[in-house]
Symmetry: C2
Subunit: 345 residues, 2 copies
């Protein structure tokens, strides 16, 4: 009567390939076409309906996605909401609602739950999002949270990963690698603290990178700025697992290639110096670090002048034909194929 | 730098009170009014929009919600979809889409994931539901799944828990206590198997109760039958934690009381006999067992004749005024207040 779940593990494939593999088996699926090209699902019951409802669900597991040793619960609540909403924003949608399901052990007091949900509440207030459903389950070990975000977009506004065209410019918002740098610092201080609980962490110069990891923001400001300047991106997605994976998602879905310029990657000075101290190559983290939750999008070259009016957007490369592949042009002018764990063979 | 999550646990409150407590802190919330009265959230961005989008998210944690020792993965996939869709159905909505996020350890082979998602696929095919989003995360221990269901309902059709009126009849679909009975049997066989792995389980007479636990169905058939017979229920909810909790949710939200008749509780013969063998009182399980996923609804007395045309619906009591409270009328005519763990003080 035992279920055969302990058999030899099939050679692990990349996350993307694994998910695609599973999705392929569904024949009445939106996911098969849509989720390869969209950041999240689109609920459409009625053809004539003007607004499309977008939905995105994220799972957060203690000691996988967060470590409560250094992650304040209020920040965690806020971050979970940002992460769930990120896919809505990346489709040029406006987040309007959240569902939150928690699994908690008796290690969690009511006060701890209030802290966690306090962070969700701040997010809801700031971004005019409603909590639609909330439930608490028992968990034997650690905290588990499922957060689903809902949003709306008109079909004209809706952006997918499919529209990128040859010669389009590739743009990214904010800066990259800072969140991962914050995580590395927190992990380092945790080890120091475990070795000697009397030490106090010294985070004086690191507030920026810590905040980038602990409290990412949804980039709705950029969506507004793009609309104000009449720029209609041709494709968009979120940078959640590094720039390389995001670019490869757009190139895959749009059937194009790209060149990304190492020298153009937006890396903040504190991030750069901190990574140098830690003996880590900043470019690697910008390309393959995670949790930036910035937007990556492509625009037609004609929109370049208008783009100059928008703060916090960098042009990092341009779209090429499919056969060129996805490449990084290094500072010493070498062409290296981009790789991303999500696309591992 | 450690988060104070280990402080003394606040006296645990009932699940419902706990959830209400947390929700109350949200001031821009739909949840505060809606989720107390609705089975799930309602996404409404546009006032004029005809269809309302319903969304419901459920979390499934290994060894809390299911035990893989005896839960076949394909059944689990199907059941997770049924459970997530149950709240949509209970609002008289039509499920149209699902988001699935999994957390899996390396104990799970690709084949195991295929089995699990194979069950989801069967559900999608049978019930014309689309998989909108699917993603896989890492989990250190055990399987965690988050399933969100989406659906649509016109405002005229939408049913909440609020509309029950004095003298309305209280109806329940299918039968109660069978799923819990299946669970008890599976747990018993697990213990026998652990004591002596050479024993083979003997489930010959128990197929019905096992299937009720392992593969519950969404009761969309009843929604169709009600519509075909022009019956508009006044309130509706899902029986997921026993009849008592479901009735108390409707009475709370509608500000009414009720009498439920012990003799009217629909309990299948196999269920009844099996529980008797196990020395368990069937009424207790019908009221406070879980996982039936049947519908509980109230109708005006004028609809009683039409209701007779619908199979698999039982009238179990009627709505009284609020001050009467929620009571069980026992077979020997005693009045006992209904209790439910969800509403524990």
């Amino acid at each position: 009567m035992t279920e055969d779940v302990n058999k030899t593990l099939t050679t692990p494939k990349g996350k993307f390939a694994l998910e695609q593999h599973i999705k392929k088996a569904f024949d009445n699926i939106d996911c098969q076409e849509v989720a390869a090209v969209n950041a999240c699902g689109v609920v459409v019951a009625e053809e004539k309906k003007k607004e499309k409802t977008l939905c995105s669900s994220k799972l957060f597991i203690e000691n996988i996605h967060f470590d409560l040793t250094y992650f304040p619960l209020k920040h965690l609540g806020y971050k979970m909401a940002t992460v769930a909403a990120a896919d809505i924003v990346a489709m040029n949608g406006l987040p309007t609602g959240l569902n939150v399901s928690l699994g908690v052990s008796n290690r969690f007091s009511l006060e701890a739950l209030e802290e966690l949900m306090g962070g969700v509440r701040i997010f809801c207030k700031l971004h005019k999002v409603k909590l639609l459903q909330f439930e608490v389950n028992t968990s034997l070990l650690g905290l588990v949270a499922s957060v689903s975000a809902f949003g709306e977009a008109t079909p004209e506004k809706l952006l997918t990963r499919t529209g990128a065209k040859e010669n389009d410019l590739i743009c990214v918002t904010g800066d990259l690698a800072s969140a991962y740098t914050g995580l590395v610092l927190l992990e380092r201080e945790k080890k120091t603290f475990e070795a000697d609980p009397n030490t106090q962490p010294d985070f004086d110069n690191y507030h920026y990178v810590l905040e980038r990891y602990l409290k990412p923001e949804p980039r709705t400001d950029i969506l507004n700025a793009l609309a104000d300047n009449n720029i209609a991106p041709t494709a968009m997605t979120v940078v959640d697992n590094g720039l390389a994976a995001a670019v490869m998602h757009i190139c895959n879905a749009s059937h194009v290639g790209c060149d990304i310029y190492e020298g153009k990657l937006p890396i903040d000075l504190i991030t750069f110096q901190t990574l140098k101290e830690l003996d880590i190559v900043a470019t690697t983290i910008a390309l393959n670090g995670g949790e930036d939750y910035e937007l990556l999008f492509t625009i037609a070259q004609k929109d370049y002048d208008s783009l100059q009016k928008i703060k916090e957007v960098s042009v990092v490369g341009y779209v090429k034909d499919y056969n060129s592949g996805c490449n990084l042009v290094t500072n010493d002018d070498k062409l290296i194929p981009l790789t991303a764990q999500e696309f591992a063979e």
